[in-house]
Symmetry: C2
Subunit: 339 residues, 2 copies
DNA sequence: CTGAAAGCGCTTACAG
DNA sequence: CTGAAAGCGCTTACAG
């Protein structure tokens, strides 16, 4: 790259010290009581030379990088892509830039990522934590790094977080299935200790038991790393046998998409033979022949809240933690129509 | 945040200069001929203090930030999300971090973004350029900023780029429709001057004319900002009248998804009444009742090539520009089955 | 084998 | 109203 013009170049041309130029360029001329004439002259030269401040130098001096780090599970998953987009927009409004990384639901990657972002002096972190990363998160707290957990709070860690009422939303979804006449409702979830999935499972269980169907509990788990195979197996089991499920509740959009692929292949008719509800949204749900009933998370609000909480923490290191829990909404469509 | 430990702290504890510590921490002990004992001692202290280098300071000094900037149209669009993911993975392998931004197909935003990333001293840029951003790209070249154009080359700008054979891929798609017995093939594209869309249009036109159907050309354009309305209007026009289209070719996945939503609403049967092909891929294409035939771009290869080209440019500022053009693949499925 | 010193490009408290 | 100086945390050419 061509050598960039620095404060020094401007100072030289204007015949003043770099200090003056710095004051003018950061609009602190008032405070530094720089002469109006001089300020104008400096600005003019800066313009002519097309001066662009070096953010790195500024950050090194000021201790603030105006950058936030974002850790998601996988940026190519539209759910996280949407979150990233909201955070980007919201951050930009406050003159922050976003560095991101995908943890792939992997603790080691997550740890490396956190370190890499921290070494780059991000002012704070928004993280959608991977399973088993509690320790890493605790370390953040010990080091007084401002951060916000998103999507998946850790019940045992006292940290600011944005999440939704997972148990409640799952409960509503299952209740909706029961009210539409289904009795054998299966659930497919990730095999994970993450709290948000546990909550979704407990919402499911609670609904069944409130409707006197605790005996009908049928949950299958799929590994993130063997998604396709595990889901196929799960569906085979749930829809086979003497008392096949007449409804399926998927705990996330990726589970549902993979599941629906297989359901189509098998020629199972939705919603006649099998009603379907999923967490999250997806364009794919719209194009399924029976548009899929889903639980809509308020992604925009979540992103906004996350950035807000983080910036407050950055500004005030002693801000008490704040856990925000938003409500999700059940969007009812064809895939759960009454039989 | 708590004060971080710096080289100085280690130097103090070890009773040596920061220079020594720096050499050891960057594994240049050989070159600096630091004593083995001393090196061990320094490493031990660094470990104990949990030393983490400040990347900002390093970058300021070295002039390299080991960060690349990525500009996409919209990170929440899975197509770009996938590209981002490949670039992230590939960059990480070379110890680079990625800062990203969404231009929203808007020239002003794109300009702001480029500046913001450059001020943060990214070593180079991978950009999926917005319409009308030629000037911004030319400026990059003038300033000798390493960069690679992706997805959309500018024919009038001599720059390194990764793209696919858009005209050829479109040609194949339309040819496939014609060979499957369709005669009135409509196309829906973005209203844009961007070259890759122009190429897709010309592939369409060429195919029609090669098959003696130039009179049957029916292209409709939709504005990015009025996607839904424009597509609905376009589909109404194409499928209405005395000679309704019997096939539709969508120039991108977002156009197709919006279009298929409407086609479902209208109750038009695919592929019987209307065959459908789209550029790009999407999970939604799989779940459509007649899985959609699409043109698969080699995203992984594209991302890898982009990073490779960029890093070569960063290493060698005089590297001549290189335009890589990859082939796309037509994946034939139900939506274009013979009538 | 080791260290002092300069410098990357900024900011800001301080002195005049 | 203006400027000299110190310093953020590193790296590296140079001198011993």
């Amino acid at each position: 790259m061509k050598k960039k013009v620095s404060l020094k170049d401007i100072a030289q041309e204007a015949g003043v010290s770099t200090a003056l130029v710095s004051y003018v360029m950061t609009n602190k001329e008032e405070k530094a009581r720089v002469g109006r004439e001089m300020a104008r002259k400096i600005r003019k030269i800066a313009q002519k030379l097309n001066y662009q401040p070096n953010h790195l130098a500024r950050s090194l001096k000021s201790g603030r990088s105006d950058t936030i780090g974002l850790i998601v599970a996988d940026i190519s998953n539209p759910f996280f892509g949407h979150i990233a987009r909201t955070i980007e927009d919201e951050a930009k409004q406050h003159n922050y830039t976003v560095i991101f990384g995908s943890s792939d639901e992997n603790v080691d990657k997550s740890g490396d990522l956190i370190n890499a972002l921290l070494n780059r002096q991000v002012d704070g972190l928004i993280v959608i934590p991977a399973e088993g990363s509690e320790q890493q998160i605790r370390r953040l707290k010990e080091r007084h790094v401002p951060f916000v957990l998103m999507d998946r709070p850790f019940p045992d860690v006292d940290a600011s977080s944005i999440s939704i009422n997972n148990a409640g939303a799952a409960y509503e979804a299952v209740k909706h299935l029961l009210l539409s006449g289904r009795r054998r409702v299966g659930m497919i979830a990730y095999k994970t200790g993450l709290h948000h999935i546990a909550e979704r499972r407990s919402g499911y269980t609670q609904a069944l038991s409130d409707y006197g169907l605790e005996k009908e509990k049928r949950i299958k788990l799929a590994r993130y790393s063997h998604l396709r195979d595990d889901i196929r197996k799960a569906i085979d089991q749930l829809t086979g046998g003497k008392h096949p499920a007449d409804a399926l509740f998927f705990a996330t959009n990726s589970l549902a998409i993979e599941g629906l692929r297989y359901i189509s292949e098998l020629g199972i008719s939705v919603p006649e033979q099998l009603a379907v509800v999923s967490f999250d949204e997806s364009e794919a749900f719209d194009l399924f022949h029976a548009p899929v009933t889903y639980i809509r998370q308020p992604i925009r609000e979540m992103g906004k809240a996350a950035v807000r909480l983080l910036l407050e923490q950055i500004r005030d290191g002693d801000k008490p933690t704040e856990a925000i829990c938003l409500d999700a909404e059940l969007i009812v469509r064809q895939s759960t129509a009454k039989k």
